[in-house]
């Protein structure tokens, strides 16, 4: 540990500067002392009533510096899309600060990340690391069906490095067969259970692409495994999240898709969901459009269109609806995959569950969904969220895959505002923590990496913090009324909106909207209070009547 702290000390050229002025849009200017620590940029005015700024270095996406005389301006652009300005007098000081921030915000080593140093200032009531264990989720499944078993075939992560140690597979398939199937699927991602639809017993599975290659390799075990999920005489659907030509091209690199001849009981549907570098580009363009203050309507609309962000939202949502439709309406089982099965596949399987399963629309249920379908399922968070929209470096593995998922959830939430137990703030919070956090939840790229990093022992889980009454209160939707129905969102372009809560969050004053939200909470609470009072009085009167039959209420 001490060597690591030494390392930070070397990176911090100037630990503190006085007289720094902070500019933030829609907030008063703050003048104070700027301090750099190993993990934070802190600006404190030392006046009791002004807010301090605490910014995680890992939240900083890029910085720019310029000078007007000896006055230095540092623009800090954050992964949560906030842009702030620091004014520092003295060229040397400013340069020192800028290069320190640059060095501290681009540290690559996971073990130096803040979650390993963070000590909770709150009492952990329920350890989030134990809240969503696969064996518990499986117990729920067991209560509904006995057709599945929990396999430990991947317990040392050797069969599939991106899968968790425990996965649900059809009961009749032993681990030896699974090993064979794993060799036929990209990254060893053999088909596993993603969702069981209680209403009709249909299932959704996910996998990596089949490695058919150019000569149409087949794997009998793979065919058998997925056929085992079909009802007699019924067909299933394979949803390939790639356009047909992209899937064709994958053959040349050893990948491919299920051929009709070998999978006669399955109908394959191709849907084009964009891949990661294209998505990253889309995010960059969208954020640029949102920050363009040129005041022209035409320019805004054309930039919004050119970013393709809303198109991506629509495509992902449409594919998820299609998967849900196959299961609920067609009464068919579904297998979803793209190439690796760690990005668009997860967007589709998790959104389909939100549509189908009311349980996923609760706070805990949604956390469980994120845990199951994203963290355990091997979405490489650390790679995807290494940089956000302001990054100057060439994107490698970065992509807003998870942010797009959250955006789609927000769209459904907008259309069914009473059917979710959580509110928009919860989704925004997950976005922030996926990119920069004091908690260990989103560190690493897979269950295997997380196990190697000993995250449960060395870091605090985001869920430990969120699942406390004071946080939950802020994240709970006051309009929530459990809705047991399947909720079908509209995917018409007119029905899909730009997620202002994320993309315009720092570009507008939210005061009016926040106050209106407060008013809504007030109306709902007042109503509850009144009903309680009425009930209690009625009960007292009723009681009196039974006690004293001579008393008659008018």
């Amino acid at each position: 540990m001490s060597t690591e702290i030494m390392e930070f000390a070397e990176l911090i050229k100037t630990p503190r500067v006085d007289g720094v002025v902070l500019h933030r849009p829609f907030m008063p200017t703050v003048e104070g002392t700027l301090c750099l620590t190993g993990h934070h940029l802190i600006l404190s005015s030392r006046q009791d009533n002004t807010e301090e700024l605490w910014l995680l270095h890992s939240n900083i996406d890029s910085i720019e510096k310029r000078f007007v005389g000896s006055l230095g301006h540092i623009t800090v652009k954050c992964k949560d899309l906030r842009v702030i300005q620091l004014e520092i007098t003295g060229m040397e000081e400013c340069l020192n600060i800028a290069s320190s921030i640059e060095a501290l915000s681009t540290l690559d080593l996971v073990s130096l990340m803040y979650p390993f140093f963070y000590r909770p200032m709150f009492e952990v009531i329920e350890d989030g690391w134990n809240s969503f264990l696969p064996q518990n989720a499986f117990k729920d499944l067991e209560s509904m069906t006995d057709e599945w078993r929990l396999s430990e075939v991947n317990k040392d992560f050797s069969l599939c490095p991106s899968y968790p140690p425990l996965v649900a597979v059809p009961k009749d398939f032993d681990d030896e067969t699974l090993k064979k199937v794993a060799t036929f699927r990209h990254g060893g991602r053999f088909p596993v259970l993603s969702y069981y639809h209680k209403k009709n017993g249909m299932v959704m599975m996910r996998a990596g692409q089949p490695l058919t290659g150019t000569n149409g390799r087949r794997c009998k075990e793979d065919e058998k495994l997925i056929n085992a999920t079909l009802r007699p005489g019924k067909r299933g659907y394979i949803i390939d999240t790639r356009a047909i030509n992209v899937a064709q091209q994958a053959k040349a690199r050893g990948g491919g898709f299920e051929l009709e001849a070998n999978y006669p009981q399955w109908r394959r549907i191709h849907k084009a969901i964009e891949r990661y570098n294209v998505l990253q580009e889309s995010l960059i363009k969208l954020v640029e459009a949102c920050n363009d203050q040129s005041h022209s309507m035409d320019r805004w609309l054309s930039k919004l269109e050119a970013s393709n962000w809303q198109t991506n939202v629509k495509e992902i949502l449409t594919t998820a609806c299609l998967a849900a439709q196959c299961i609920d309406r067609e009464g068919a089982s579904v297998l979803v995959h793209g190439t690796e099965g760690t990005d668009s596949t997860l967007q589709v399987t998790s959104l389909a569950q939100i549509i189908l399963d009311p349980g996923c629309r609760t706070v805990k249920g949604f956390q469980s969904l994120v845990e199951r379908e994203w963290l355990q399922a091997g979405h490489p968070f650390q790679q995807r969220c290494a940089q956000s929209a302001f990054s100057n470096s060439k994107p490698r593995h970065e992509a807003p895959v998870f942010l797009l998922f959250l955006d789609c959830v927000w769209q459904i939430l907008r259309q069914f505002p009473c059917s979710f137990e959580f509110n928009e703030s919860f989704l925004v919070l997950l976005f922030e923590h996926a990119y920069a956090s004091q908690f260990g939840t989103f560190l690493g790229n897979s269950a295997a990496e997380r196990a190697r990093l000993c995250l449960p022992e060395k870091t605090v889980s985001l869920w430990s913090w969120v699942n406390r009454p004071q946080e939950l209160e802020r994240l709970t939707n006051p309009l929530y009324e459990p809705n047991s129905l399947v909720i079908w969102p509209s995917v018409a372009p007119q029905s899909l909106l730009l997620w202002e809560g994320v993309f315009l969050r720092w570009n507008r004053s939210s005061k009016c909207l926040d106050e209106a939200y407060e008013e809504m909470v007030h109306i709902i609470e007042y109503n509850k209070e009144l009903q309680t009072k009425v009930n209690s009085l009625r009960r007292q009167l009723a009681q009196l009547e039974t006690e004293d039959p001579l008393l008659h209420t008018p």
């Binding site: 549907i269 005041h295 309507m297 035409d298 320019r299 805004w300 609309l301 054309s302 919004l304 269109e305 393709n308 198109t311 449409t318 609806c321 299609l322 439709q325 067609e330 907008r414 259309q415 069914f416 505002p417 009473c418 059917s419 309009l479 009324e481 809705n483 129905l485 909720i487 079908w488 509209s490 995917v491 018409a492 372009p493 007119q494 029905s495 899909l496 202002e500 315009l504 507008r508 004053s509 009016c512 106050e515 008013e519 809504m520 109306i523 709902i524 007042y526 109503n527 009144l530 009903q531 309680t532 009072k533 009425v534 009930n535 009085l537 009625r538 009960r539 007292q540 009167l541 009196l544």
Partner: protein, 613 residues
């Protein structure tokens, strides 16, 4: 059929299919044609009827309504279809006002009730509320008999120093005689908003009376040394007008004016812009990209932003600089009405209440002669005169309600309802082009007032988030006009495409809750008075809960919970039933048993557009 036994039935066609325009769903029914309604779609709402080519299932008939409803019928026999089509064409072209629905509409009110309805809005009282007449502004009787300007109202307010010769002289120098008059008085700074039409200046003409008139307006405000003159047209248009002997004020001839172009396009540009917008949004399986490109190329939101920008400019000039402003365009009844009304709405919280908004429309639109008859195509007239100017105004207001959710007493339902009736011609308020014409038509005697009806329905139009305290703290609204604050108004342009809207409405839910709270308050009061009689301690000292959860639910009171519950169930389940084919790919593979039948009577949110199948 029982609905129509008392009206003359023009036509009745059995076995007609009504198609949903964005899915493949359809319902069967019978189509009725009466003198004023097509199965409860008012004829007057219909903008165009189109007969498409014959298909195997029958002859299609597409009807586009002015409230943006598009109805797609399939009629089995081509002959029937043609009959309906030609009857509609005949019915859609009224040649005189008396044919309009307002003259036959009878809400079972007596004459006194009708008269009271018309007395609801009193513009004289409104000017008094603003603080006019006062030492600087007075009521003039110059237009008592519509002699000076026949498109203005009888009662007009002018500076005390503007003598009759000045007024008459100025009016002769203004297009259609629409000389500068007061429309809003900002009491706090004694600044005035005045309106007029363009001057007949050509390239060099001037008019001393007109110059004195502007001078008088300027002098009536001691807070500012100058008067803003806002020409709401693009400069190019104003320049072009000079060739026709019209134009704009030359700053050299008028002392102490600051001249400003604003750049709102004319009625023809607005008409085709809306047409483009509707073409785009009416496309089936529209892609996101085509939607956004279409939204941009239609220019619609650009025009909306231009109007709001102008209103913000006006508001700042008056409330911040304390200057008086004279607003005009060409004739001063389209863009001028938009900007003056929207500006007043930003400046004065009163206009953001239900009653105040009615007054505002009565003042800046109806009385100052916005040509509703021409713009809304009430009679068979010149299609080039039709333009969605008033719709744009309502949309601007809606855009503001989105930015300031607590500043308005009314919700968007109110705006939609007004829009509905501007086109329905069911009430007399919007008939004709100006006050003089309305008097000739004796509308107050022969038709009913929309305002009285809307007032009686006030509860349905309330914004549950409205806070008078907010208005007190923020009397003047300062909206941001950055492009991303302007959104496509789905509730207006897709009002009847139910599948596009959120399946659960926050507005509806909160309104119901507020209503429940109101009822609970009175129940509580009643219960408390009973318990005081019986000496029970007040409800605040609650007894421990004895009943189970279910008990509690029942005890809440039947009316209270019922409405919310049914609403939710309906919303949720309709969500599952009507999204049949929207995700593509699986078309035709459905088991039709799975699709629930639409209910026999489709009733929509608003009174007029009810459909019975």
């Amino acid at each position: 059929q029982k609905y129509y036994h008392y009206v003359h039935l023009f036509l009745q066609v059995e076995q007609v299919r009504l198609l949903d325009r964005f899915s493949n769903k359809s319902v069967h029914g019978t189509l009725y044609l009466t003198a004023t309604h097509l199965i409860f779609i008012l004829h007057h709402h219909i903008a165009s009827v189109e007969k498409l080519s014959l298909t195997t299932s029958g002859c299609p008939l597409v009807i586009q309504c002015r409230n943006f409803r598009v109805v797609h019928f399939v009629i089995q026999r081509e002959r029937d279809c043609h009959d309906v089509y030609s009857s509609l064409l005949r019915l859609l072209r009224p040649v005189c006002y008396e044919e309009l629905y307002a003259f036959s509409y009878n809400p079972k009110q007596n004459d006194q009730q009708r008269e009271e309805g018309w007395q609801l809005i009193d513009l004289g009282a409104e000017f008094e509320r603003m603080g006019v007449p006062c030492d600087q502004w007075q009521l003039t009787d110059v237009n008592r008999d519509y002699k000076v300007c026949e498109t203005y109202p009888r009662d007009l307010y002018v500076p005390v120093t503007a003598s009759k010769p000045i007024i008459v002289g100025s009016s002769k120098f203004r297009s259609k005689g629409r000389f500068p008059v007061l429309t809003y008085f900002y009491q706090e700074k004694k600044a005035a908003v005045c309106r007029c039409s363009q001057p007949l200046s050509g390239f060099s003409a001037r008019c001393l009376e007109d110059e004195s008139m502007l001078q008088a307006i300027s002098k009536a405000n001691h807070n500012s040394r100058f008067l803003y003159v806002m020409d709401t047209r693009p400069k190019l248009n104003a320049l072009a007008n000079r060739a026709a002997g019209k134009g704009y004020e030359n700053e050299d001839n008028y002392s102490n004016i600051r001249f400003q172009f604003v750049g709102i396009e004319n009625i023809h540009v607005m008409r085709s812009s809306l047409q483009k917008l509707l073409e785009v949004t009416g496309t089936r399986s529209l892609s996101m990209s085509d939607y956004l490109v279409g939204l941009e190329s239609s220019g619609w939101l650009r025009h909306i932003k231009a109007i709001v920008d102008a209103a913000v400019f006006l508001t700042r000039a008056v409330t911040v600089e304390g200057a008086s402003v004279l607003v005009h365009c060409s004739d001063g009844w389209d863009r001028t009405a938009q900007v003056c009304a929207l500006g007043a709405l930003l400046m004065d919280p009163y206009y953001r209440t239900i009653k105040g908004f009615m007054v505002l429309i009565e003042k800046d639109w109806i009385s100052f002669g916005h040509k509703f008859a021409d713009r809304c195509d009430q009679l068979d007239g010149d299609p080039k005169e039709v333009s969605p100017i008033f719709t744009q105004f309502l949309e601007c207001v809606w855009q503001l309600t989105e930015q300031f959710p607590q500043a308005f007493e009314f919700s968007e339902w109110f705006l939609l309802q007004i829009h509905e009736h501007v086109h329905s011609c069911q009430y007399g308020n919007f008939l004709g082009n100006n006050q003089r014409q309305r008097e000739e038509l004796q509308l107050r005697e022969r038709t009913h007032s929309l305002w009285a009806f809307l007032m009686s329905e006030k509860r349905n139009h309330l914004n549950p988030f409205y806070s008078p305290a907010y208005s007190e703290a923020h009397p003047v609204l300062e909206p941001s006009t950055l492009p991303y604050h302007f959104k496509f108004w789905r509730s207006m342009y897709h009002q009847f495409d139910r599948s596009m809207h959120p399946r659960q409405s926050i507005l509806k839910t909160i309104l119901t809750l507020k209503e429940n709270s109101r009822k609970a308050e009175s129940t509580l009061q009643a219960l408390e008075s009973v318990s005081t009689l019986l000496h029970i301690p007040p409800a605040t000292s609650r007894l421990p809960h004895s009943g189970s959860e279910e008990d509690e639910q029942e005890e809440v009171g039947e009316e209270a919970t019922e409405s919310t519950d049914t609403e939710r169930t309906v919303e949720g389940s309709s969500g599952t039933e009507s999204r049949k084919q929207s995700y593509g790919e699986l078309e035709g593979t459905y088991n039709s048993d799975l699709v629930k039948e639409e209910p026999a009577v489709v009733s929509l949110e608003f009174g007029v557009a009810r459909m019975t199948c």
